[in-house]
Amino acid sequence: MWAYIFRNLLQRCVLLFIVSILAHSVVHLAPGEPSEVDPSNPRMQPEDIAKIRAAFHLDAPIHLQYMYWMRDLFSGELKSFKDSQPVLPKIWERFLNSLPLFICATLLVWTLAFPTGIQAAIRRNSAYDRGSTFIAYALISIPGFFLSYIMILLVVDLFGVPVIGMRTFGMEDASPLYQNMDRIWHLVIPSLMSALAGIAVLSRYVRSQMLEVIGQDYIRTARAKGLDEDTVIYHHALRNALLPFVTLFGFLLPGLIGGSVIFEAIFAWPGLGRLGYEAILARDFPVILTINFIAAALTLIGTFLSDLLYAVVDPRIRLE
């Protein structure tokens, strides 16, 4: 058990190292440099560009640049190219902004997808099943920003829900209660919109898992014992159908970064995805690379946790 955990962690560290090298090479070998973001600026002289390149170590060979990046990252001294602010506090601040959005969206996905999927599986081929199937496919297939714009058009006039930013401008003097209510109010639409696709995908998955389990022999046995249908479904079937969803926890964490770019751009949410987008626009290599590094680390931690959890909940699995 402990040998497995140790070996697994070691493997993941090696993977993370390879990911960071790959990401670093992709970003640095692609054409386009921070010094070229604003070529039309007349004040930008060749000597300025040379100065910038020297300051950012852009003249050094690529493996040295990688060393510099790693050294600065782990000593916490990594500075952004754009505004010379330290990268880690910058990311941490944006991370705290993204977190409530992520938590709300995740809660919405997991609380709505399970009832929908279970009902669809129990009433297989009913009107409810066909309807929810079709709606789920429609939600998977619609471009997220298209649906969000339609939603914005509908709800802003009808309910007056705010759709821009995290808080109302000029509320700094209000009491903390009102400020918090204002922030929650701002969360509603962005978290709902970023949850919709997830609800659709997960409810389909729940449905197929439930169907798989309901066809098993032990469910027939439970029915034959004369148990009532609710006990059969929620006690015997659901518990077994839940097993694979433990692995999905692993894919939750990286969604914090990758999935949020579009929705944070639509709703002007100052979160991590938006920070990444701005960094890409400015060719801010340290920020891009560090966000990518954190995302990869989160993925590895997530899959590691889900492997462990799987062994905990499923006694048939032994970690060796």
């Binding site: 970003v27 297939s141 997220g144 298209f146 770019v261 060719r283």
Partner: protein
Amino acid sequence: MNNKQPLQSKTPAQEFWYLFSKDKLAMLGFIVLLFLIIAAIAGKVLTEWTVVFDPSMVRLVDKFMPPLSTASQYISLEEIPKFGIYLLGTDELGRDVFARMLQGSFVSLSIGFVAVSISTFIGILLGGLAGFYGNIRLGFISVDTLIMRFTDVMLCFPTFFLILTVVALLPPSIYNIMIIIGITSWMGTARFVRAEFLALREQDFVLAAKALGLPEWRIIFLHMVPNAIAPVLVSSVIGVAAAILTESALSFLGFGVQPPYATWGNILADGKNFIFDAPWLFFIPGIAILVIVLAFNLVGEGMREAMNPKLRRR
């Protein structure tokens, strides 16, 4: 013989079609897809080879005309659209939206198909190598470990963020977008193919083929790949849908296919700026993308169900 056992005389393809055609949603998606593929080919022919609908003709007098409106009399004779009406209206430069959508249908579909061809090719190649030659050791590491660890590395990247980074850094070009979407989405296919190959390698028919002394490429491509192809086909049909959505998301952020190419994604992304003045510029491409992606997803799911051996036995 056919009269005695009509059920068993069905070829797998016939049985697949029988099950597939019973699924109404999937059939609907299939018909829509056929229609769209015809539209895409027509779009290529009618907007580039023989210019019947000119997507790049700018008519500033006739800007923001709603759908089905007739051309004004202020434009010159060669600027008048076919039939004298703008079927789907005009945009902010007075370009015919119908012509742009026609052109975009070919570009959007080809982005999906090319990206998926690339990812399927890489997936089958790497998955097949790992599955068939997995035991060969290269120094201290086996081929299987090497390829599957590389797949894990690729899975660690936040895909959309990676695509965005590379597309933003490279010079904007439609081919770059196709290639990048392709090389960041092969991991699922590689895993399927490897799993199928590991199972097939132990089957008797492969052993028989080996005993006959067939060359390895024949065993792999003529005997094993056709047996492993079902899940790959399904995931590539769904992959086309995902690629079209990715392109539209890139367009929304301003990194999509650049002019003069029109895609449904960038028509939609441009149209969002005129959502109040000219709602058709926003809703027509948006609904078109919804329909095409939905069609691909429904067909993919229908294929998955029809190829499911558990359903066949019933």
